[in-house]
Symmetry: C2
Subunit: 347 residues, 2 copies
């Protein structure tokens, strides 16, 4: 199997997507792979594996050395004087974090152009990218979420929580624009920061000392679930730290939790995953307080694909790639138009 | 202003999209326009205005006579021996009903390729295309919806409503796969029909004699709202009748309702519309029973754009086209990568 790793994108997480893809280059040792870069202008480039270093992108060397690709049905293509040539691969892996990758655009493009891919489909992308939709969906499935209010730029609304609270732009990942607000006099500044990134923000109570557990997995021919990790946390992971987090490839320690909690985390994960996230390897971040489990967020394209949480990540990619669900073919037979024309002919 | 009407698509509503576009050809008399057809294979074709007849598509004449288009940044292009040539237009109108058009794929493609368009964005598409998401979203905004249960193929679940009930595939428009079920012995067949189209279906109580009102509109430089229509109904519009419905261009009678109800319909419409549906002209279909208003569905690309509900539809298109909101540009400066490289250099 040959894998095409698509990364970059017009996204605040463009750079961490580069870091993620470089990490996967070393993690996926046995897998044949190629790399497709989406630059800030949303042009596609075929990147030679030897050029997969961060400086190749930050220096803009790719503009001179890499081949530009165009997209056509079923393929990315290179162009030369001799015509166009299809770039050969079996399955793409959507590794664009944030906008373009996680907001449903790339999913829509790849489905429309009939390119097999690992990653969330359009609906799954929208539900996980928008933190309000995530909450509505989870609640509908009986998965608890932390209480919240939605604020819109310019709108005055009472915040019904006592401080500290947490302010999050509605649509970004990787903690960008997120603030913990300890008292009312810090609120305005925190809102200004969040509104820089999104015209809608979510406000939640910030619960000190709440436990956090991450669980990743996928449903291919059967369920493949990772170990449960209790991520290290400072009061709050800032972007620099998160950024380094995306280059992780060391296996982590399994969280020391009882079987009952573990089973319940798995139950909640499966409830969220199936069937909406089929085709994707996702990581769900949960909060736990006094045995109650809350879904914090769904990462449909986690940093470096959360490879460090799996026993045999390379096998996992293979399993997902060979069990992808294709869109249903729709037969268009022009029955209605023909009938109408017949009816008109008789009139 | 030159408008590019995009229609067709790999959709059960492919044929009614053709009907819609032919209708708009005659409705938009003063507007300069071109037509881009997406065939069942998802190839793009530039259609000459004189060829905009249903037989041109049903006979597959377009395969011989129309120019194939490819998509590149900011443009659709024709290819010839002399090279590629950009197809000139200012704004596209997404007129693909159902899959591809209303499920977020085309929105994702047009945004990614930086083509201005009238139509729902990716999030708005997903929320209106999936009837469960529509309900969750409406409820969150305080807009009432008819009670429901979600069923999945193969799943046994008690239906908590008395008959008659209505069965709907979760993701289709235009009444496809929808049945009214009068008693339990009709249920299995109706579910089989619905599962032909979607693996998830919604079950609702069917409320006899409920009033239905449609209201269309958009928010451009200001609000533009249509008259309220009380659609003619037989017990139920079947697909053939709906199909003819998409060719409507006669102005309709305003529904005879009191000011209070009208105001409340408008209030609910605006609540649903803003800000999620900006850029689109949508039609909301409401049910009313004893002064309670329920959102039945959101049509983010209504048949023939609900032109017949507006006083001056041509002006409306112009207003929307000139007030489109562009995606935020994201500045990618490689600050993090450069910092890391600097840090490494010093180490």
């Amino acid at each position: 199997m040959k894998l095409a790793i698509i990364f970059g994108g017009s996204s605040y997480e463009h750079e961490i997507s580069i870091v993620s893809s470089i990490t996967l280059k070393s993690v996926l040792k046995k897998t044949q792979k190629i790399f497709i870069f989406v630059d800030s202008q949303r042009d596609f480039y075929l990147i030679d594996e030897n050029d997969m270093k961060s400086s190749f992108f930050s220096s803009k060397e790719y503009l001179k050395k890499a081949k530009k690709l165009s997209l056509s049905k079923g393929a990315f293509e290179t162009k030369s004087l001799l015509g166009t040539k299809k770039v050969e691969f079996d399955v793409a892996l959507n590794l664009i974090h944030g906008r373009d990758g996680e907001d449903g655009k790339l999913a829509g493009i790849l489905e429309f152009f009939d390119i097999n891919f690992i990653g969330p489909r359009v609906e799954a992308s929208v539900i996980s990218y928008n933190k309000l939709f995530t909450k509505l969906y989870a609640k509908e499935l009986g998965v608890e979420v932390i209480d919240y209010v939605l604020l819109r730029k310019g709108e005055q609304k009472e915040i019904p929580f006592s401080y500290p609270i947490i302010i999050k732009p509605l649509r970004l990942g990787s903690s960008i624009g997120v603030s913990i607000v300890k008292s009312e006099d810090e609120l305005e500044y925190a809102l200004d920061v969040a509104y820089e990134f999104d015209e809608e923000v979510l406000v939640e109570p910030f619960i000190e000392g709440i436990k956090e557990y991450n669980l990743a997995g996928t449903l291919a021919d059967s369920w493949y679930l990772s170990i449960v990790e209790e991520p290290k946390k400072e009061e709050f992971l800032d972007f620099d730290k998160k950024y380094l987090d995306f280059s992780r490839d060391d296996k982590v320690q399994e969280a020391q939790i009882n079987e009952n909690l573990k089973e319940n985390l798995v139950k909640n994960f499966k409830q969220i995953y199936n069937p909406l996230f089929k085709g994707a390897i996702i990581r769900c971040d949960f909060f736990v307080q006094e045995d109650r489990i809350y879904l914090n967020e769904i990462n449909p394209i986690p940093g470096s694909m959360a490879n460090y949480l799996f026993e045999d990540f390379e096998n996992l990619i293979e399993k997902v790639a060979t069990n992808l669900h294709k869109e249903k073919k729709i037969d268009i037979n022009y029955l209605y138009i023909n009938n109408i024309q017949k009816a008109k002919g008789k009139a």
